[in-house]
């Protein structure tokens, strides 16, 4: 009996609760930073002026027309449509490893001018657009449509603590928990971003006249808030905090710097301000204006299930020609943060898509989804003249070991996780990178 009278050092209930909590943390610790982002230390790494541009070609690009051309023994493979044999390829001056497909030919000068690496044979089992996009953007595979993980630019924006956290041009990207904590500035096109940031000002009203009006808006909102109940006030807390940041943004005058003037429109071939063609020049202006060092451009239209070549080739060549101009602009523009270097010196570019297209054509002369992905990285930190990963004569992703193609196994395959983790790592976000994956693509970055 006496042993029951003695008070135990810890009750069974406390012990069980503690153990359960410990278990939960142990299991979830690697997931929390990705979903709720509660444990990512803000300003974890200073960006040191580094910039990151992610160009995402939505719909699934044809890597055979880009960085994984049909050459060598693939030419005799019956898996590839014969039409690929008639399309040209290009070599990059001074970089013998880089052989590109006809679709990217307009960008060959850009590949020659800056460190460039192609990554092929990234294994992705998911070929449903939305799921595959989320996977390639975030490096986290989730088969749930209701749960998304933040894209790598969102992670960079969050970890750097910058405001705005990042900029998204074009279609939406997965934001996960960062949607609530560190949302981006997002616009469907270049003109939308400039218009949004230009503010209400115009030449007919003195800018000083807006000061009392903006003060009035805040006071009217305050009166409105006083009449609300607590839950309503809580629901609109975001409005209040966002409102306090507007003056700061207007004061920078960044809206004017983002305006697409006629010179830049002519250079990039933009005929209408609201067209998707305005995305690439706006990406350049966003980096040049210093609005945010992390930019995502999402260009749509690559899901060509019919008349593939007549649709896909012009689209890819238009993108490639704009990429060449963008790289040239970045090379010739001084970095406002480091005037002795160009913007390109401090920018890393990733070009990717959710998957590649099938090597053979369907009945509508289109191509379908294929469980493999390709990407291109350019600029700061990239080891030049590299082609990492391979697809075989059947267009299947192969494994990659010690710089050689090998049989694909879970140990040798290149995955979106590894690509995202490698990029985060090279950008200085090692802790975030480890939370995505311990694997890296070797020989890709310095």
């Amino acid at each position: 009996m006496s042993k029951f009278k003695k008070k135990p050092p810890c009750s069974r209930r406390t012990l069980l609760l503690g153990a359960a909590e410990l278990l939960a943390w142990a299991q979830l610790s690697h997931k929390l930073p990705l979903t709720s982002l509660m444990h990512v230390p803000l300003a974890q790494a200073a960006t040191n002026g580094r910039k990151f541009l992610h160009i995402f070609l939505r719909g699934g690009w044809d890597a055979h027309l880009a960085c994984d051309p049909v050459i060598g023994t693939k030419l005799s493979s019956s898996v590839y449509n014969a039409a690929y044999q008639n399309l040209g390829t290009f070599a990059v001056s001074g970089k013998p490893s880089l052989i590109g497909g006809w679709g990217l030919e307009p960008a060959k000068q850009a590949f020659a001018a800056v460190p460039t690496a192609f990554i092929n044979g990234i294994f992705t089992e998911v070929t449903a657009h939305e799921l595959a996009q989320n996977y390639m953007f975030s490096g986290v595979l989730s088969l749930s449509r209701s749960r998304e993980y933040p894209a790598l630019t969102a992670l960079m924006g969050l970890a750097s603590g910058s405001f705005p956290a990042h900029v998204v041009l074009g279609g939406p990207i997965p934001l996960g928990g960062s949607k609530m904590t560190n949302p981006p500035l997002q616009a469907q096109n270049g003109a939308g971003l400039a218009e949004m940031l230009r503010g209400p000002f115009n030449q007919y009203v003195k800018s000083s006249s807006f000061d009392p009006v903006h003060s009035l808006i805040k006071q009217l909102d305050e009166i409105h808030r006083e009449g609300q109940n607590q839950s309503a006030q809580n629901a609109m807390a975001g409005w209040q905090s966002a409102s306090s940041q507007l003056d700061q943004l207007y004061a920078t005058g960044v809206g004017k710097k983002l305006a697409l003037d006629q010179t830049i429109k002519d250079r990039y071939g933009v005929t209408e301000d609201w067209s998707p063609k305005s995305l690439m020049p706006s990406a350049f202006l966003t980096l040049a204006s210093g609005l945010s060092p992390f930019v995502t451009v999402s260009i749509d239209g690559f899901d060509t299930h019919s008349n593939h070549l007549t649709q896909h080739v012009p689209l890819l060549r238009l993108f490639a020609s704009q990429l060449a101009i963008l790289v040239n602009d970045l090379l010739n523009t001084a970095d406002p943060q480091h005037p002795s270097s160009s913007l390109m010196d401090n920018t890393t570019i990733l070009i990717s898509s959710e998957f590649v297209r099938s090597p053979s054509f369907n009945a509508a002369l289109g191509t379908d989804h294929w469980p493999s992905a390709s990407a291109i990285v350019m600029g700061k930190g990239v080891l030049d003249n590299r082609v990492i990963g391979r697809t075989d004569n059947q267009a299947q992703a192969q494994g990659w070991l010690n710089g050689q193609a090998t049989a694909r196994t879970p140990e040798t395959q290149i995955t979106p996780e590894m690509l995202v983790a490698s990029l985060l790592d090279t950008m200085g976000f090692a802790e975030l990178a480890n939370s995505i994956s311990g694997g890296r693509i070797h020989e890709l970055f310095t």
């Binding site: 279609g171 500035l185 949004m196 807006f210 009006v213 109940n229 839950s231 309503a232 609109m236």
Partner: protein, 225 residues
């Protein structure tokens, strides 16, 4: 018999729940009856771009957009600002953005100003049907009395007061149009003093109206329900 009893039980339970729900609503309504301001019962949600577009059309008889060569109207709020406003996600509607963000407010300010400027411009240069909205005051002359006008020995105070009264009547009309209620005394004071400030800076009543309408259209109350 058992089945009948079961069905009876379900029916009674349902009626009981419904009655309880109805009486709860009645109680809540009674609670608010007679109050000057009816607060939202639970929380607030932002209107979608479609709702805002419809609301602007109803309140101000104005649509922000353009008509193409085929006669099709393109609504800027929906087509151009829809996704960044967080109201429309073309990929899946269930990902609608739950919180207002900086970009939401940036766009709200842009839309509010564009609409305010366009509406006042339309009213200042009315077609043969006359002004649509400015029925209570003269858009180009009426304004709140300025301090310097009040101090002016030669000023016709009666006329100035009539101008101010008409201006305030027009302001109240906008409150009904945009918010479905009259302005509170504190709001009237704020708006009047700000209008005087703008009038002193700009010296032109239509500009005062542009900025006042801009403020009313930018407020949280217009964009939420």
């Amino acid at each position: 018999m058992r089945l009948l009893t079961f069905l009876l039980f379900i029916t009674i339970s349902f009626c009981s729940c419904k009655c309880r729900k109805d009486s709860k609503e009645a109680e809540t309504a009674a609670e608010y009856a007679g109050a000057e301001y009816i607060a939202p019962a639970q929380a607030v949600i932002r209107l979608t771009p479609e709702q805002i577009s419809r609301q602007l059309k109803q309140a101000l008889q104005f649509e922000l957009g353009w008509t193409d060569d085929d006669g099709r109207f393109h609504d800027l709020i929906i087509e151009q600002y829809g996704v960044p406003l967080g109201g429309i996600d073309f990929i899946s509607a269930n990902k609608r953005d739950p919180i207002p963000k900086v970009q939401t407010l940036l766009l709200i300010r842009r839309i509010a100003y564009d609409v305010a400027a366009a509406v006042v411009w339309r009213e200042a240069k009315p077609d043969t049907n006359g002004p649509l909205l400015f029925q209570h005051c003269d858009l180009t002359t009426d304004h709140p009395i300025l301090p310097e006008e009040r101090e002016d020995q030669n000023a016709d105070i009666e006329m100035l007061q009539a101008q101010e009264d008409r201006w305030l009547a027009q302001l109240e009309d906008f409150y009904w149009r945009l918010y479905g209620r009259p302005p509170r005394a504190a709001e009237l004071d704020l708006l009047r003093s700000t209008a005087i400030d703008i009038m002193q800076r700009e010296q032109w009543p239509p500009t005062v109206w542009v900025l006042v309408l801009y403020a009313l259209l930018s407020s949280q109350e217009f964009w939420t329900v």
